[in-house]
Each structure stands twice: as C-alpha cells, then as structure tokens.
C-alpha cells in the first residue's frame, strides 16, 4: 500500500502542477456554469414539455452543474489523463521503475489512483464554485446536504471507470494518441446516447448500460423525471439543449437524487469493473511490450547487419548543389509530412469516408456526416503548428531558406486536406444548385485547419486542438446549432454564421503565422 500511495502521490503532484491541469479545472468550471439555470440569457439544458421553470430555486444549481460536469468531465478528463504512461516512458521514469523490484500492477494502481485523484479534485473545485454561486444568487437560501451533494455523487463511480479506460488504452501502445481518442469518443457518444434515455421516453435502455455508464446520466435522469412527475403530474418526455428561459413556467424544485440498493450495487459494480480493467492492463501491457520489443529487435538487427564502414571520399560528389526557391515543392513536402506516419488502414478508412459522401443521403452529409469525417482526420490537423515545437525541430527549420514560411506551407496543406474532404459533397451540392451550401462548407473547411494551426502554434501541443475540436463536434451533434460550423442543409443554414466562422478562421490563421514570425513580439 505504501508503494501504491507513493506512486499515486508523486504522479498526482507532478501532474497537478502542470498548466494543463489548471486548464482542465477552468474548463470543468465553465462546463458547470454553462449548465446552471440562468434567467437572463438562453439556457443550455431544457426538457420537453417545455413548461418548467428551473431558475427560481437554488436546488437546481448543484443539480445542473453536476449535469454539465457529468457530460464534459468524462471526456475532458480522459483526454487529460490518457498520457500518463507515455509521459513516464518519454522521461525515462518507466525504465527506472521496471529495473527496480516494484511490481507492474503496483505501478499501474498508483497511476490509476493518481488519475482518479486529479479528476475528483476537478469535481471538488466545481462543487466549491457551485456553493459560491448559490450564496451569491440565492443569499440566505440554504440547501440540505443531500440536495447539494447527491447530484455530484453519481460521478464518484464514473471517474474510476474513465481512469481505468485511460490506463488500459495506454497499456496497449497502439491505442495511445489519435486512435485511442477516436475510439473513446465513439464509445462516449454511444454510452451517452443510450444512457440519456434511461427511465424515460419510448426507448428502453438495457440495464447493463448502468454498469459502464461513465457519464452517470443513467443515474441522474430517472431521479429527475420522478422528482418532476411527483410535483407536477407531468412526465418529461425528452431532453434537449439550448433554449430560451421560460419566465412563467411551472416552478419545480429538485429534491436530490434518490438512491436505492440497486443503484448502490451498480456503482460498486462499476468500481469493480474499473479495478479489473486496471489489473487486466498489466498482462495486456506485457504482451504489447513483447510484440514491440520483437519488432524493435528486428529493427536493431538492421543496424547490426550494416556493412562495415567503407569510407572512400572519392566515391561521392562534394560539390555544392544549386538551390532554387520552389513554393510548390515546399508545399508538397509539407503535405506529405502532414499525412505521413499513419497506418495503411487509417488512410484507406479516410478515403472510404470521403468517397462515401458521394453516395450517402445529401441531407445527412450536409448536417452531420462531414463533421464526423473531420473527426477521422483529427490527428492530421492536430499536428499543425505544434509539430515543430513538440519535436524541437524549429531551430533546424528556421535556418533553412524555405523555413521562414514553413508555417504558411503547413496552413496551406491543411486547407488542401480540408478542401479534399469536402470536395465530393461540394460537387453534389453544385449539381443540386445549392451554392449557399457550398459556401457554408468552404467556410467550415477553412475554420478547421485554422483552429488547428492557431491552437497548435500557441499551445505547442496536439491536445488543445483535439479536446476543443471534439468538444465542438460533440456539442454540435447534441443540438448546439451555433457550433455547427458546417451545417449546409439549405433550410437550416445561416450565412451569417458561416461568414463568422470564415472570418474567425482566417484571423486565427493569420495570428498563428504572426506568432511564428515573431510579428506580435516585435510590435509589443
């Protein structure tokens, strides 16, 4: 136990001091505040029938901030904790541990605990902020501990599962980075979709979902539905996001989440599954290490098999080779670079997804499909702007004659990839005479690489874009119409929105180039 605690503590201290942890806390708080009922502007969560007023009573503040946290923390949290083993490998800590007497499962449990502690800390910070919000918005109106705490408790069992998934994905070295991120996103959307219907509506949710529901929604929704039904006699039939507040709606109060034995057992089951996943990560990691070591050994053999040095200067031309500035050559090299390093199945999948937009129903393509295709290419875009910083190659590139404008070539290559993704769909829209839809797609296609290069250059990491882009896509898919940067259905499109995305995209692109070229520094 002492070893486990030492690992967990050291890892927790190391990661909680990073700037990215502060960013996680801020984003969690924003998600929670975003969901709090507000009678002055539009509200983010609403229920159908659209007749209830959630703004008048303080009991909705903890409930709604926990709801927001439950929606976003499992996703944000996963992307924050999913690089802990890789980080140790990069820093060499991994080798220190493996060469000591420490057992791998002790190390993994330590990591798992540290992940949980980080995410629980984020929940605690949001709880404190919610308490402050209550004091300022409803002075003198105190809630019982049950009403305040019970909405947050459903996350207690969800967080270990998120951490365990991160550990097992990392232990299989092939699910690190982009591939794991995409699989987790798909898993998250599927679970969210299933759990959102628990206890309500026409759809029947399978019980087992409760055992793997790391969003906690399957615990929260039934309680909410029952609570409102007991007060008003009206049943909630659906949830939706983004709505105007209702000033004269039926005033309802939240009485806290009710827990029965079944719920407690489900929560314990979830914690047990998390623990088993962490334990399973140990043999899985060993197996994948073995596979990787064999591959590496083969590679090392190559260097051993090299012929003995035969250094004869006369064999080689040592004359200077003439240089010609070649914009297209630089761009082609950059494009090749952006697309390199991906496995064959990924390329094949990408081509199939792009071609599929020729045959799928045009409505689906224009509404959500194109946005989903962009998710497939997230690792391509996320390397824009930050690749040179991450690999420390900037000092090599900056001294090359074409290196001055390398970021511009990256931007142009990103745009080429982006336009390639939308081209088949755009051709269909042109043939259908929907020129406004084509314009919306073009604006969206400019926005994605611009956001990528901006965040990449300023944060010097892939994660910023990956998290932001997944959040945007997620929020857009779940009803956040203002975030649908590529909503090209003729009846639903908004040219103002498209132009906003285009202008903000171009602005971000220019800012990224200025940052790399030190223009901002020179002016300041």
């Amino acid at each position: 136990m002492r070893y486990i605690w030492s690992f967990a503590r050291a890892d927790f201290l190391e990661r909680s001091r990073r700037f990215s942890f502060l960013a996680l806390l801020i984003l969690s708080m924003l998600a929670a505040f975003f969901f709090m009922p507000n009678d002055t502007t539009w509200q983010v969560m609403a229920v159908t029938p659209y007749i209830f007023d959630f703004t008048h009573d303080p009991s909705w503040l903890p409930m709604r901030s926990a709801w927001g946290l439950g929606l976003f923390l499992p996703m944000l949290g996963y992307y924050y904790v999913c690089n802990t083993l890789a980080f140790d490998e990069r820093m060499g800590v991994d080798q220190l541990i493996r060469s000591s007497t420490t057992k791998t499962h002790v190390y993994f449990i330590g990591k798992f605990l540290s992940d949980c502690m980080l995410l629980y800390l984020a929940v605690a910070v949001v709880m404190i902020c919610t308490a402050f919000a209550m004091i300022t918005r409803f002075p003198g109106q105190w809630l019982s501990m049950h009403v305040f705490l019970s909405p947050f408790i459903f996350l207690a069992a969800a967080i270990p599962l998120v951490s365990a998934i991160a550990i097992i994905f990392e232990s299989t070295c092939y699910l690190r980075g982009g591939t794991g991120a995409i699989i987790y996103f798909v898993l998250y959307v599927l679970i969210m979709d299933k759990s959102s219907h628990t206890g309500a509506f026409s759809q029947v949710t399978p019980e087992w979902i409760r055992l793997i529901d790391f969003t906690g929604m399957s615990r929260l929704y039934p309680s909410l539905i029952d609570d409102i039904f007991s007060q008003t006699g009206r049943r909630i039939i659906d949830f939706h996001y983004f709505a105007e507040p209702i000033p004269y709606g039926i005033k309802v109060i939240f009485h806290g989440i009710t827990w029965d034995l079944k719920e407690v057992l489900y929560s314990l089951g979830m914690i047990m599954i998390s623990f088993l996943l962490v334990m399973a990560a140990v043999p899985v990691n060993k197996l994948f290490r073995l596979v990787r070591r064999n591959t590496k050994w083969k590679k090392q053999q190559i260097s051993q098999d090299l012929p003995p040095t035969r250094f004869v200067l006369g064999r080689y031309t040592l004359d200077k080779i003439p240089l010609h500035s070649n914009l297209l050559g630089c761009m082609a090299a950059e494009l090749k670079m952006l697309l390199s390093g991906f496995p064959g199945y990924w390329r094949f999948g990408g081509i199939i997804l792009i071609i599929a937009s020729l045959v799928l129903p045009l409505f689906s393509v224009q509404s959500v499909y194109l946005m989903l295709v962009f998710i497939w290419f997230i690792s391509v875009f996320s390397s824009m702007g930050c690749r040179e910083h991450m690999n420390d190659t900037l000092k090599c590139i900056n001294v090359l004659p074409g290196g001055d404008w390398q970021i511009l070539y990256t931007y142009a290559s990103g745009l080429v990839i982006s336009f390639t993704i939308i081209t088949p769909a755009a051709v269909r829209m042109i043939l259908a005479g929907q020129m406004e839809s084509v314009f919306v797609c073009v604006c969206g296609a400019v926005f994605v690489p611009s956001l990528a290069i901006f965040l990449g250059e300023y944060t010097k990491t892939r994660r910023a874009f990956e998290i932001t882009f997944i959040l945007i896509t997620f929020a857009a898919l779940f009803g956040g119409t203002p975030l649908m940067y590529m909503l090209a259905v003729p009846e639903m499109l908004s040219l103002t929105r498209a132009v906003t995305y285009l202008i903000s995209g171009l602005l971000m692109g220019i800012l990224a180039i200025c940052k790399r070229k030190n223009v901002i520094k020179k002016f300041s």
Partner: protein
Amino acid sequence: MRLQIDNVTKKYGSTYALNDLSLSIESGGIFGLVGRNGAGKSTLMKILVTLEKPAEGTVRLDDIDIIKNPNAIRRVLGYLPQDAAIYPNLTSFEFLSYVAAMKGIGKKAAVKHINELLDMLNLAAAKKKRLSSYSGGMRQRVGIACALLGMPEIIIMDEPSTGLDPEERYNLRQLLMELAKTRIVILSTHIISDIESAASNLAVMNSGRLLYTGDVQSFALSENGDIESAYLKLIHKGEAR
C-alpha cells in the same frame, strides 16, 4: 569566403552570454570552438546561423551583414544543432527529402544526393525504417546528413561527435576535413582530441569572452604539444583574472 564577427554582445537578463567578442573565420580548414559549458559557444553559433540576434555588434559574410540580411547566410548554410531534432514517425529518407525541399533542392537532384549522403554516413540499409527505431548514433548521423544536404559552403556543427562510435567519429572528421578545404567549417566540441586531429584553427571561450584564437599547432606548442594541458592552463588563467 569569410565570416567577420565584430564586437558582438549578447545578454540573457543580466548575464553576458557573449561579451564584446570579435573573431574572423575563413574557409580552408576546420575552425574549432572550445570552452566550458556556458562559455557562450552555442550562443555564438546561434547568432551565426541567425537563430538569435546580438544586442550589439555585427556579423558579416564577406560584405553582407547577416543580422540585417539573414537569408544571405541561410542559402549557403548547413547547421547541426546540439540536440539533433528529428520527426520520429518519418524514415530517414522522408525526413531528408522534407529538409531538401525546404532548402530548395530539386526533386531529382535531391533523391540522388540523399541516397549518396545516406551511403556516406552508413545509413543506406536503414533508410526505409522510421527514425524512432534508430539508435542515438544513427539519429546523430541523420542530423549530420541534414546539415550536409546540398553540400553548403558554410557548415556549423554543435557537438557533432555526440553518440558516435570511434570509427564514425574518425569518418566524420575525415569528411569535414575534406569539405573544409573549400568551405567554412565551424565545429564546437568538448572533445579536445577532435580539435587536435581535425581543426587547423581554434578559439577558446570562457564566460562569453575569447581567451585564445589562432592556429592549433601554436596553441599546443605552448605546452610542449599537449593541447589538453594548454587548454586547461588557459581556462584556469582566464578564471584567475
């Protein structure tokens, strides 16, 4: 070709990395740069390759001020930084092709030239393997190949022999000596024996100042041909001042 460094000063906060340094480097023979850690060698190199700008002073390539016109030197420069950086997911051939494109080497010429460089640096058999699978020495050789792409007229290398085995170090020295006959080759190192066997001129730096500049032979002769003793004596003398 001649690099003329005049009264260059560079400060980081209140610490002088270079303090009123003047130096002249000409083609024909390797120019060695030695000194302790933090002596200012890397800063000087960064200024020469236009990654940093001095607070004061000028650097001229023949008659062109490279501080004002950095592209003048970039067109004829090959640079190996202290930690040769690479893209781990690329093969050595892909990485060098990328750098060649950025340098402005035509595609056909680049393929032939890269193959020749890889062969020269004993990497030809591994050219289709990802750089992540390379050993430290192999990565260093990729960095060297990167600096030699286009066979530039000015070659600046910071600790090039790091991670190389004795045979590869010997090969590199031979290659640089051959190249230095018609080019400016500046070599920064901690390994005095590299300077002794390869360089014709050297500069000894300490705390951003120049303690010695001149030919290697005269420097060694000051201590009966023992260059290491001459170096240590000079450094300690510089410190005592």
